[in-house]
């Protein structure tokens, strides 16, 4: 088969979009858009890496900070949320052995997240609205620095993403608890109790233990979705608050910024944001590790009941850890710094360590395994979190935070290694394992490209995090510019590692396009020809 023919029809013309069910199309749309936004993030990241070495003339300083503001939000919402929502909207019904509650709602989630991300990205691109994702009060309402109209559209875009997220959460819980037409009545309360961990908790005090009605990965999705719901409410509330100031300014009313206490706001916002970083990400990731490990090995999960309990502990921990972001805020009460900031945060070492061990032990029980693509990316994801979580625990210390806060240490070995290596490689593992199921048996174009993707991403991600961390330990701050090239050597090395990540992504992108073909990619976005609520064709 010629290269151009493969480019059009995909590897061996095996992928036929007209055979896809509406559910397969929905999931693939999420994945494609999520990967396109990941491409945005990698390119934005590279532009910033170059700018950190030497400011380039086609990017102004204000544009740089607008990119810095959009970069993590596009990464989290446009890319990770898209892929996660798509995967879980497919996997929850798959594991519950019943159709998704509402495909229509799933489509709305897709549209709202995809369009909302574009709206806030574009608003930032045009207007240079740049209060960063932290939105420290009263910066988002500082209209002497930022355009009020740009800010209004930016916040509206975020609100669209949150609305899509709310629909996702509703769809997940309804799918777990509803009774499909023609089925015997499902025990809604019992299913919900099992999903949220109430059954498991009560079993501790019962002689006759009740069985778990919901598979473990579904329990992880449900518990992560609780954090997602709380986070959605926090961000929506904050967005409305900021919009009030913006609309006031548009109408000519200068509302008093001091009406809002900056420290209380900071506590509120970090409480909400940590439900993502220290809540749903860790819970979703643990659930995904467990699912992939059991699918790879075809064996039950090691220490299953403890894994369930740990997911519940992680949920409670995620509600009480936010103070580690305020260890350098001197007005923050000391008791909150020590209990929430240090002690509760240290629990994440335990819960994430357990998930790491349980996944490895499950894999170990099925030796010898073949080094498949899902397995190698899973191991990469496990390594990413094993590197990033202890780095986070170190900075969540009153003493160390005094010399690490807001340095490149925080964003390098902790954030970028966790997100790029830990989270993203876990998502790639899930994509590789779902690829044949979602494409009705399409074949990957090139194993060599998979290997290039794997090694470039792994070494690039760890390398970039390492050089950023070294710069942080030498005093380099995040969220600023060093116009005199003070940290150029380390920033050049970090940029070279960033180039590896970009090269890996290009290899992956080419491989996927060549596997399904351009015709196939376009076909994913046309209406499904098969009218069914089944996940895959019979």
């Amino acid at each position: 088969m010629s290269f151009s023919k493969t480019l059009i029809t995909g590897e061996e013309a095996l992928f036929k979009s007209e055979t896809l069910t509406p559910m397969q199309k929905l999931t693939l749309r999420f994945v494609v858009v999520g990967l396109i936004y990941f491409g945005f993030v990698v390119i934005e990241g590279m532009l910033m890496r170059l700018y950190e070495v030497k400011p380039v003339p086609f990017i102004t300083e204000n544009q740089f900070f607008a990119i810095l503001t959009a970069h993590p939000l596009v990464g989290i919402f446009g890319s990770s949320y898209s892929i996660v929502c798509g995967a879980f909207l497919f996997l929850v019904p798959f594991l519950m052995k019943k159709p998704l509650w509402s495909i229509k709602l799933g489509n709305w989630t897709f549209i709202l997240i995809a369009v909302g991300t574009f709206v806030f990205w574009f608003a930032g691109f045009i207007s240079h609205y740049a209060p960063l994702y932290t939105l420290y009060w009263p910066l988002p309402a500082d209209f002497s620095q930022f355009s009020v109209w740009g800010g209004t559209f930016f916040i509206a875009g975020i609100a669209m993403v949150m609305a899509g997220t709310a629909l996702f959460i509703l769809n997940i819980f309804k799918t777990i608890t509803y009774t499909p037409e023609g089925w015997a009545k499902q025990r809604c309360g019992a299913l919900l109790s099992s999903a949220l961990g109430v059954t498991g908790f009560n079993n501790l005090f019962r002689k006759n233990k009740k069985e778990h009605l919901v598979p473990l990965p579904v329990a992880a999705v449900a518990r992560g979705s609780v954090d997602m719901a709380l986070n959605t409410a926090t961000i929506l509330f904050t967005g409305v608050l900021i919009l009030v100031y913006m609309i006031g300014s548009i109408l000519g009313y200068d509302l008093k910024e001091t009406a809002i206490d900056a420290l209380l706001y900071k506590n509120w916002f970090w409480w909400g944001l940590d439900l993502i970083a220290d809540g749903l990400v860790l819970i979703f990731v643990a659930g995904t590790w467990y699912l992939i490990a059991t699918l790879i090995t075809n064996k039950p999960l090691f220490m299953q009941n403890i894994a369930r309990a740990a997911l519940l502990v992680e949920l409670v921990v995620s509600w009480t850890v936010w103070s580690h972001h305020l260890l350098s805020d001197q007005a923050q009460p000391g008791i909150l710094k020590v209990v929430s900031g240090e002690m509760v945060t240290a629990f994440e070492l335990i819960t994430q360590g357990l998930a790491f061990f349980i996944t490895l032990a499950t894999l170990w029980s099925a030796r010898p395994l073949k080094m498949t693509n899902p397995l190698k990316f899973l191991l990469g994801g496990l390594l990413g979190f094993a590197l990033a979580v202890p780095a986070g625990i170190m900075q969540a210390d009153v003493g160390l935070n005094r010399i690490l806060h807001n340095t490149q240490w925080v964003v390098g070995p902790h954030v970028h290694v966790a997100v790029l290596v830990g989270l993203t490689m876990t998502l790639y593992s899930a994509i590789y394992i779902l690829f044949p199921i979602l494409t009705n048996g399409a074949k990957l174009y090139s194993q060599k490209l998979v290997n290039i993707h794997f090694w470039c991403h792994l070494t690039g991600g760890i390398g970039m995090g390492s050089f950023m961390g070294m710069a942080g330990l030498k005093g380099m701050l995040r969220r600023t510019l060093y116009v005199d090239g003070e940290f150029n050597t380390l920033m050049i090395l970090a940029a070279l590692c960033g180039t590896l990540i970009l090269a890996g992504f290009i290899a992956f992108f080419i491989n996927i396009v060549m596997s399904v073909g351009l015709k196939g990619v376009l076909g994913i976005f046309t209406p499904a020809k098969i009218k069914t609520t089944d996940l895959t064709p019979l």
Partner: protein, 187 residues
């Protein structure tokens, strides 16, 4: 005397060693899990030992730092300490307003920096001439932002905002703002 440079050196050594060990461990696992297997699972005792190890590690990190990093206790009990010197600093319109052009400190002085913001959230950090960080704190409007620092070596330090406050915040640097001199020089 343990200073921030020494603490960071210790951290670098400890974290680098950990990274090497964990990367080798995962590489070893990848090699073994694809090698010959006997189908035997992991013993629960190993699992519980690992849980115990993580618990001890998580708790002991903070106990060790509390007892070895000199500024931790001072930081958590600032009101109990009487500084040798106090500097009141105001931040407004992306500018530090200092009590004097150069703040001079004697070696071994405990100095309180009391920083007030009149508009946005800023940061306040002291940096050595090689750009490394001596210490920092957040400066939140409407709240007291103070830190006590013990200066045990002579040196010249720049003040820089350590928190993003919009693009204008990039230029919030005051070079040679603080000078620490030995007692003899001061006299």
């Amino acid at each position: 005397m343990v200073d921030s440079e020494m603490v960071l050196t210790g951290q670098t050594i400890a974290y680098t060693a950990y990274c090497i060990v964990i990367i080798l461990l995962v590489a070893w696992f990848a090699w073994k899990v694809t090698g010959k297997g006997d189908g035997k699972g992991v013993k629960p005792a190993i699992f519980y030992t690992f849980v115990g190890f993580l618990t001890v590690l998580g708790v002991s990190l903070h106990i060790i730092t509390y007892n070895t990093i000199p500024w931790t206790k001072v930081d958590l009990h600032r009101s109990d300490y009487k500084p040798d010197k106090t500097f009141s600093i105001t931040v407004r319109n992306h500018q530090f307003i200092l009590p004097s052009e150069k703040m001079v400190i004697n070696v071994n002085d405990d100095v309180l920096f009391d920083v007030k913001s009149e508009d946005l959230t800023y940061g306040f950090g002291l940096f050595r001439e090689d750009n490394s960080l001596l210490f920092q704190m957040q400066v939140v409007p409407g709240h007291k932002n103070d830190v006590i620092w013990h200066f045990d070596k002579p040196g010249v330090f720049a003040i820089r905002s350590t928190e993003y406050s919009g693009p204008k915040g990039v230029f919030m640097i005051v070079k040679d703002a603080v000078e620490v001199v030995s007692a003899n020089t001061a006299n």
